[in-house]
Subunit: 224 residues, 4 copies
DNA sequence: AGATAAGCGAGACGGTACGTCCAGTCTTTAC
DNA sequence: GTAAAGACTGGACGTACCGTCTCGCTTATCT
């Protein structure tokens, strides 16, 4: 995934961008990448520890060994800072490789979500930011467009390939497939319940069954 | 649904609770029910308007025409106040009436969620409290136990009845059914997407199909 | 000294006042003298401990084992309560007995003040209330009229008798005598310094000397 | 007079103190002298208006156009703030110039007190703080040491010079002279009575008379 | 004896101020 | 010109009291 930088002037190592936007003479002390990292790391730790509501920029600054103004110079708000962190952490968990196995690819979709939540810092961070994504457009809109959009695309590809292989019926609807595969995972993130492979198997099993090619309609025996 | 009172001393009208916890002599001026309502109403309005992060008890007090101390006398924290509100709003949207129609009952499950989110104050309120439910055990645990538990029970009943009617296969698993039916709804609440009847129909359709009684695998009637 | 009650309806033991103000029928439960005492005692203790600024009626009520309203029923304000306490404590230290000995009577004036400050609860109480007496007319005016006035009268009598005895010169001015005798004592109460008999002796000595009958003016030698 | 700073880090203009306490590098934005003044001025106005008991730091902050935290950053308590104000106001009214005229110098002592009380903001301020000086060591002790001590020294000098000139008798006791000269003034400040030149004259007259050289009991040596 | 009326302890109530913490900005020195 | 440090205004926090107001109960007088 390719996530847009929030900062006006990018970190100096981001050579590509510098080449594209050759910023003028570039005077004075250059911004430090080390500081950028330190701030994001401190934000992650405190966000996981205390939640977004209790995230204090003063503490972030202290933990990062940085002046508050340095943070405000790089991000316009606490939300923007959280958003960059979210992009950074969400990126790696989207893609699904083509494997020739429809069940396997569907399971990869679900397990990507499960693992990102249970085994990486992304889990606690998104937990802390769910309300912001749901209710704060300045975070929610970019997140939807970039991260959710990317995931939907991946799922659409998986469905397409399944149809092509004849594993799914031709009218299998990719527009609710993401919800059906990933919705249960996020439901458990919020409302509790095990997030493991068995759970993923059941979800995938039901979706596969639900999207299976129809057998010729067998007349059901009349009740009574 | 039966929601436990958060207040130490219950409102005087709550006769049932008084009977269960026969509080001693009851001295001093009794707490006012009218004020209790006013505070919850003010909380709801501001929570919907600004989200949990920006909810200010000082404003709640002002809007309810109440002193701050009166709020702290009844709830130990902003979270506890939000929790009571959540219970109150969540209650009415859980139950599913038996109708004899499995598809209809499953759809009722989904549509109850959809309507509670799109057409009642519960939607904005839970949006604002998702992070607290997910990450703050003092809110999350009671909510899971009471509200989510109640919904799971209702779904289990619907599945049972569906099996009994022969509309669902006997091994249809009620333990992920709630996730499959309601998970997609909450996914869209957070990550965007239409929440309407068409969406509910697709979700229900897929679950019905996935849980449909299996075609007897062997002696398939010879085509021809 | 005779101090007027602040309360609208006086304690029942204050017979004299009851006779003067024969309050109508007097229905309902009568006010308790025991409570009156308990409140004044609690006030005294807390006033001495914490000063007037930090005197809390809620604590007075608690210490006296009394409801707050019971205090407000009897005194309109914290100041009025303090004033009654002040009257009660100031009373006993005013009078000076005629002894035939002018120096002795003057010393009695000073020592009355010294002892009231160093050896009775009046000392700490008035210390705590000095600012109120000086700056709050609702306390200062009655106090001046009753307590200070009484002291001035006593001093005037002492001076008169001293003149009559020929110990003081006929134009000895009683209008500043109180200030000269008692002012130094209160000066030390506020600004520090020993308050003992030696101090009293020096003050009295100087006043006696200053008010002594004039010797025939001896022409002082011209300085050079 | 030389008054000690209450602030941990002194205002930058207070060069002398900086030299005595060479605070390290001096980082961050320095504290503003203008703000220091504004706070003291606002405190003075409100203290005069309402007395110490009703002095509200929130109002001081508002009137000074300052955040509350700025006040707490500089003074640990309302009392400390009042103390600095007191020092500032008391300073100018202590000194007594040598004039060669003993009566005049004694009168200067008394009139300094009278004028400071009747014609400068010091009057209302000390009126409001009398109880604190008398009963609160954290205010009283420094005040006694600095301000009262300074006044005692001045009076001692006046007495010494009077003895040297032969206007006062050699054993005139400076240790109670301050009480006798200034005590009456503070007595009237608290307990009422005119504070004017006539009053000063009477006080001075009596002290002069009381301390006058004794008539030679035995045949005085013939002049010349 | 019962009715009437206050007194009383307890504690809820709307407010005001407390002293603390942060948000977001500004001002200094150091690099 | 960027950075760390930290002062600055302003707003909310959660607590403590103020002075008032219900409550249930007690203690007296009046009928």
């Amino acid at each position: 995934m390719n996530i847009p930088a929030t900062t006006v002037r990018p970190a100096t190592t981001d050579v590509a961008t510098v080449e594209l936007e050759p910023l003028p003479p570039l005077r004075g002390r250059p911004r430090s990448d080390r500081i950028h990292r330190a701030i994001l790391d401190a934000t992650r730790e405190l966000l996981v520890q205390d939640g977004f509501t209790k995230l204090r920029l003063e503490r972030v600054a202290a933990r990062a060994g940085v002046g508050k103004a340095t943070i405000y110079r790089r991000w316009p708000s606490k939300e923007a800072l959280a958003l960059e962190l979210l992009f950074e952490l969400a990126g790696p968990h989207i893609e699904v490789a083509e494997s020739g196995d429809t069940r396997g690819e569907l399971k990869a979709v679900v397990m990507n979500s499960v693992r990102s939540i249970t085994q990486t810092p992304f889990g606690p961070v998104i937990r802390a930011l769910l309300s912001q994504i749901a209710g704060n457009p300045s975070i929610g809109d970019p997140f939807r467009e970039m991260v959710v959009g990317a995931r939907r695309s991946q799922v659409a590809l998986v469905i397409e390939r399944g149809i092509a292989r004849g594993d799914l019926r031709p009218d299998a609807d990719p527009s609710v497939a993401t919800e059906l595969l990933v919705g249960p995972v996020y439901f458990r993130l919020v409302f509790g319940g095990r997030l493991d492979e068995a759970f993923a198997d059941r979800v995938v099993g039901l979706v596969l069954e639900g999207y299976a090619p129809r057998v010729p309609p067998i007349p059901r025996p009349m009740p009574r």
